[in-house]
Amino acid sequence: MINMSENILKYEENLKPNVIEMDDTINKFKRLTGRLHELSHRMLLVLIVILLWEILPRTGIINPILLPTFSLTLITIKNLLLSGELQVHIIASLQRSIAGFGLALVVGISLGLVMGWYNRIERYTDLFVQSLRNTSTFALMPVFILLLGIGEVSKIAIIFFGAVWPILINTISGVKSVESIYIKAARSMGVSDGELFKKVILPASIPSIIAGVRLGVKTSLMVVIAAEMIAANSGMGFFIQNARTIVQTDQVYAGVLVLIFMGLIANYTMVWVEKKATYWKGDLDRAIS
């Protein structure tokens, strides 16, 4: 279909003016009370689930062997912490996921920047990238073990594989979707290609890159557990799987609860990182997810 003068139309775009932030102190107070209010809403459902978790096994509606009470799970966590066993596994999992994620971060961002910047590269890589990123990481686990053995290398490699795609894809799309008006403005001020990249493309892609990194963090935490369940003798994945095998159900739930905490901490850390890195966008207070 024809779209006449599309090239010219872009010159006619309108942008609505922004509103000024009037009074910082009042806003801050409002935000604080708003947050507390929001927090109480968020906690409600969690508290109900915890209550059910306590009551159902206690009253025998659910067999307490299959679902030990919440309080027993907490006590188990405490004991595991006191014996030092839990820390060993947490640290093992963290080491693996940080190694895999760190690698994915470096490779994903640097490759993504290059691939987004040089359009021509994408033509050659797109099919390859699309094929791999849509393949289940878990399905490839046996392949990694076959090729790299059951040691640390295969586990770190699989975490890397899971985490690198969202980082790579988001970095590419961040670079490619930089608004052309910023590029035009910078060009009009005579920037070189290098400066354009450093001072415009890079900062403009940060929000998209961070979104990819957040997904990467999430993926690496998920993948590490699966990898440890398949082949490992340490780590939270191994711990949970092992506890199930020896029917220490309270330890199974203790492990799961610890994982939930780890996930929450990782998520909120990333929210904080995102906020710090994109402070210039404003309006991020509501975007906690």
Partner: protein, 282 residues
């Protein structure tokens, strides 16, 4: 060439290639090229304020891009101080309708951007930027990010940014089109005030005839696409201009002159648009 000419355009033509599958109607024949400028001749004098008006799509913004060195022309020549324009030039400042402030930089550092490119030392940069901020009445807003500024403030910062490198030509592409009427008038007066002080050559694209007449020494009226200059009108209103000049009979005369020239072109442009739409449906 007259040595008083700051910018001289000779027979400037510009064609855009359309995307694959897109076609336009060029005088009845389908084409995958769109002719935007069809031989623009225009001399812009040093220190003058010229406004460009024309129907949508007539290529006036494209001419601005060509003068700014951001787009190549298909044929013809454009000179800046008798030198052929080959690319962006530090002596040319550009202000866009969408402000185009970098959202990750605060107002002060936005203004410093062009100076950084020119390797001006940090201290000097900040000094220049602060001075500009105060000229625009924004001294207290240097550390604000664009999202914390109103549209009028953002455009002020954008103009300050364009002026920071002390250009001798300022290109303005419908800079006030997105602002409300009151803010627009205030910014027009501010711009005139600063122009009176610096006498930078200003080339200002607008859709508002009122704005074109109020600001300009001369108004260049474009034809419908493919654009050429239909006529250049001298605006002989006294300077410095004040808002109340708008209600003078002389102002109205000039306004009518421009509109008389423009009206037919706007109608032609709309027909062109309709034809294109009909053609596209086939």
């Amino acid at each position: 060439m007259n040595t008083l000419d700051k910018i001289k355009a000779e027979g400037v033509k510009k064609k855009f290639k359309l995307k694959e599958g897109q076609q336009v109607n060029n005088n009845g024949t389908p084409s995958n090229e769109i002719e935007v400028l069809n031989g623009v001749d225009l001399s812009i004098r040093k220190g003058e304020f010229i406004t460009l008006v024309g129907p949508s799509g007539c290529g006036k913004s494209v001419l601005l891009d060509i003068i700014g060195g951001l787009t190549n022309l298909t044929s013809g020549k454009v000179y800046h101080d008798e030198k052929s324009i080959e690319g962006p030039n530090a002596k040319t400042g550009y202000v866009f309708q969408q402000y185009a402030l970098f959202p990750w930089r605060n107002a002060l550092s936005n203004i410093e951007f062009g100076l950084e490119t020119q390797k001006v030392p940090k201290e000097e940069r900040t000094k220049i930027a602060k001075k500009l901020l105060s000229q625009f009445g924004l001294s207290d807003f240097g550390d604000r990010f664009p999202y914390q500024l109103s549209g009028g403030m953002q455009q002020r910062v954008a103009i300050a940014r364009a002026l920071a490198t002390n250009p001798d030509v300022l290109l303005m592409d419908e800079p006030y089109a997105a602002l409300d009427a009151q803010t627009r008038e205030i910014l027009q007066d501010e711009l005139l005030r600063i122009w009176e002080e610096t006498h930078t050559t200003v080339i200002f694209v607008t859709h508002s005839i009122d704005e074109a007449v109020y600001l300009a020494d001369r108004v260049a009226v474009f034809t419908a696409r493919p654009g050429v200059i239909k006529q250049v009108i001298d605006i002989d209103l006294p300077r410095p201009r004040k808002g109340n000049i708008r209600s003078s009979p002389e102002f109205a005369d000039n306004r009518h002159k421009v509109w008389d020239l423009l009206k037919g072109e706007v109608i032609k442009a709309q027909k062109d648009w309709e034809l294109a739409t009909v053609y596209g449906r086939q």
